[in-house]
Symmetry: C2
Subunit: 291 residues, 2 copies
């Protein structure tokens, strides 16, 4: 079943008590302070009988995280039939079961430690999945990009509550559809990928927005997900730009207020926004970088 | 030989042509722009005959990156004699040779994908290294912390040149000694660790400053390096705070202008700074987050 616009949108739940913890300390004057701090817990992902990886995650959406991680690693195929996703909170494991027998012993041993807030365990052949890949034509209106950035930076989120967290948002036109946050940016994008895989969401008309840098890994994941545009308020790496150009991904970075830079796929952009009407960022909502 | 103050300090070299590339694109108005973008290239690390990991790095200091990665993974012991570090730029490999025979086949297969800008491939027992570890007493003057933050945020760096990069700085009192940057924060801290291992740098009187978040992995690495204080302008994760308290690490985050929060090891802090004299951050130098 193809769901082009999943409803309702999935947005952050900063009030979820499992995701943050109040921690007491002192401030610069020595006065006691209590601040909310994001949780970080292990989740071991199994594919059928095989242990694949242990991720450190805030712990929401373990099912989507497992599905998206396996999908983005090429361990789940687009046509794989998932017969079960079993999460056991007590032992912090999630088991993805497929109709197809799977075996990735070799693959699991081949690692690349990727950049920045990146998966770190990128097994074998993410790059191979890019060969022959070309992303669909699409119109990306700059008015959408500004509207998305404004909404994402101001809507309630764990970032605004506790900081130290990344966000990745699946968007359609000017609407955020799925806004995932996690201590690891790679987890946030994998949770989006898992949602898309689980609900068979069309990618061709979507835009992926990330709070993080446009590294090779983020570009590869976005391309493998079939999404033609990736936007961020953060910067680029040279290899990320190279890969984006290779697969024809529209790559937009350094989105701050009115400004942005497009280093790949400019042809999809329709600059319809009246720049004079785009406000500079409110300081309160300027992301200080989950870094 | 113990070198308590390595000289000269190692600082970023934003003019190194191998580290950034000028990339052309368009801005929000459609006007052509050319911006500097950081490089990101693979480096495969070998320990003697065994391939350990492939890291994505900007490519400076491959020797320190390899040594620090292996040291932080416990694959190099404090007393290991390094008989050679051979970097081959063409095939993008670095081989660390030790007098001791090493074999980590099993270890290499045990992975944890860590949070945020974290190593991602944390083999087996980083946590085990923490058992019984307790960090030395030390005085940490807040005047040093403010002086360090001001220097680090304003000195020439790849971050100020091209953004999208993390920095980790080994400091003594109010002096930055080794300022490493990389697309992966884990690489930056590993390069510092490699420098300390190679030059037998004393850790007890040092402060580690990072631009990134204080996740479990950053706290573990700092503790394993024997450095009693870790400071960041970014935020915390709950597990990072737990581990810091377990090993008695002074953990300071959210350093912005006069403000900071200390969530562990407050006893080491000497609040000698005259807060009235600490300037708010210059907007130009406020890090927007390599994220």
């Amino acid at each position: 079943m193809s769901v082009t616009q999943p409803a309702p949108p999935i947005l952050p739940d900063p009030d979820d008590p499992r995701l943050t913890r109040a921690v007491t300390g002192t401030d610069q004057t020595g006065a006691p302070v209590e601040i909310p701090v994001v949780e970080e817990r292990p989740l071991t992902i199994y594919l059928n009988r095989q242990e694949i990886v242990t991720a450190m995650t805030i712990g929401d959406h373990p099912d989507y995280l497992a599905l998206g991680f396996l999908r983005n690693q090429g361990m789940l195929r687009p046509d794989d039939i998932v017969t079960g996703v079993d999460f056991d909170e007590e032992v912090e494991t999630v088991v993805v079961r497929t109709a197809r027998q799977t075996s990735y012993e070799e693959k699991v041993q081949k690692k690349t430690r990727t950049s920045g807030c990146a998966v770190g365990t990128v097994f074998g052949d993410m790059m191979e999945g890019l060969e022959g890949l070309s992303l669909p034509a699409a119109e990306i209106r700059t008015s959408w990009l500004y509207a998305l950035a404004r909404q994402i930076n101001t809507m309630p989120s764990l970032y605004l509550r506790a900081g130290a967290i990344h966000g990745t948002v699946l968007c359609q036109a000017d609407r955020p559809l799925v806004y995932m946050e996690d201590v690891g940016r790679h987890n946030a994008v994998d949770k989006v990928a898992g949602y898309m895989f689980r609900h068979d969401v069309t990618a061709a008309d979507k835009i992926l927005y990330t709070t993080g840098r446009l590294t090779s890994e983020m570009v590869i994941k976005c391309a493998l997900m079939g999404i033609p545009a990736l936007a961020s308020r953060s910067g680029f790496t040279a290899w990320g730009v190279e890969i984006a150009r290779q697969v024809g991904l529209t790559l937009i970075g350094r989105m701050r207020g009115q400004r942005f830079v497009c280093l790949s796929g400019d042809a999809r952009l329709i600059r319809d926004a009246d720049l004079a009407s785009v406000p500079e960022e409110d300081r309160r909502h300027r992301r200080k970088g989950a870094s």
